[in-house]
C-alpha cells in the first residue's frame, strides 16, 4: 500500500492553525518575576530549567541540614573538644610558695 506523504511545503493533515482559533499567535511561557511571584517562578524554573533549579534547592538545603545536625549532635550528648592551646597556658591563680626545700635553687 502506498503511503500518503504530504509535500514538505504544506502542513500535514491534522494541523490546526492556532491563529485561526485564537486570532493571534499562541502565548509563549514568560518568566514570572522571582520576587513578586516566587512560587510561580519556582514552578516555571522547575519545568524550564530543572537541572539548575534542583542544584540550587539541594545546595541551599545544606545550610539548615548542617545546623540541624550540629544541634542534634549536641542534643545527643556530643561535646566539643577543649581548644588546643596556642601558647603555654598561664594558670589563673596567684603565685604560691614552692615548698620544695629549694632543691633546684642556686648553689650557695
Amino acid at each position: 500500500m502506498k503511503q500518503f506523504r504530504p509535500p514538505l511545503h504544506e502542513p500535514s493533515f491534522p494541523y490546526v492553525d492556532p491563529q485561526k482559533i485564537f486570532g493571534r499567535p499562541p502565548p509563549e511561557p514568560t518568566r514570572p518575576n522571582l520576587f513578586n511571584n516566587p512560587i510561580r517562578y519556582m514552578r516555571w524554573a522547575a519545568i524550564t530549567n530543572p537541572a539548575p533549579f534542583w542544584s540550587v534547592v539541594i545546595g541551599v538545603s545544606a545550610v539548615p541540614i548542617s545546623v540541624a545536625l550540629l544541634l542534634y549532635r549536641h542534643y545527643t550528648g556530643w561535646e566539643d573538644h577543649t581548644p588546643v592551646p596556642r601558647t603555654w597556658p598561664i594558670p589563673h591563680r596567684k603565685r604560691e610558695p614552692l615548698n620544695d626545700g629549694g632543691i633546684y635553687d642556686d648553689p650557695k
Binding site: 573538644h81 577543649t82 598561664i90 594558670p91 591563680r93 596567684k94 603565685r95 620544695d100 633546684y104 648553689p107
Partner: protein, 154 residues
C-alpha cells in the same frame, strides 16, 4: 642530592661564648639535649617540673615585661629541673629513651609512628622514676591516644 660541597665540620669544641653572663649571676648548666630527646622526654619533664614551669610563667606574667630580668632565678629552676629529668632518664632508661628519640628523629618529631618504642619508654620511666605521661583535656569517655592498644588509625 646535596648541593653543598662543603665538608662537614664540628665546631662545638672550638666555639667560645663571647658574651658570657656577668659574674654576679649564678651559673646554670644547660640541658644539653637536642630537639628529639627533649620532645621525647617532654611529658616527663612536664610531670616533674610543672610546679616550676607554672611558677616561671606566673612570675613573668606578674613582672609585666620585666620578666627576663626579674625571673632569672625561676628560669634557672626550670632549666635545672628539666636537666635533672634528662639525667635521671639517661641513668635508668637509657636504651628505651634512645630507641624512642631516635625513632622521633627519623619521623619528623611525630609521636604517632613511635608508639611501640614509646610504650617501652613510658613503662620504664614509670617504674624507675615514677613519672607518668599525662595528656590534658582528653575528650570525655575516650582512652588517651598513647594508651590505645590498636594504633592503626591513631
Amino acid at each position: 642530592m646535596s648541593t653543598n660541597r662543603q665538608n662537614p665540620t664540628f665546631t662545638h669544641a672550638v666555639l667560645v661564648d663571647r658574651t658570657p653572663m656577668p659574674a654576679h649571676i649564678p651559673p646554670v648548666e644547660e640541658v644539653g639535649a637536642t630537639s628529639a630527646p627533649l620532645t621525647s622526654a617532654a611529658f616527663f619533664i612536664g610531670d616533674r617540673c610543672k610546679k616550676y614551669n607554672e611558677d616561671y610563667m606566673l612570675c613573668k606574667h606578674e613582672a609585666r615585661g620585666r620578666g627576663e630580668l626579674d625571673c632569672m632565678l625561676e628560669g634557672r629552676r626550670v632549666t635545672r629541673c628539666a636537666a635533672s629529668v634528662i639525667t635521671d632518664i639517661n641513668k635508668h632508661c637509657l636504651e628505651a629513651f634512645r630507641g624512642h628519640w631516635k625513632c622521633m628523629d627519623n619521623n619528623n618529631m611525630r609521636f604517632s609512628p613511635c608508639r611501640a618504642q614509646e610504650k617501652v619508654f613510658n613503662q620504664c620511666v614509670f617504674e624507675k622514676l615514677g613519672l607518668q605521661k599525662h595528656l590534658p583535656d582528653t575528650p570525655k569517655g575516650e582512652v588517651p591516644i598513647h594508651l590505645k592498644e590498636k594504633q592503626t588509625f591513631a
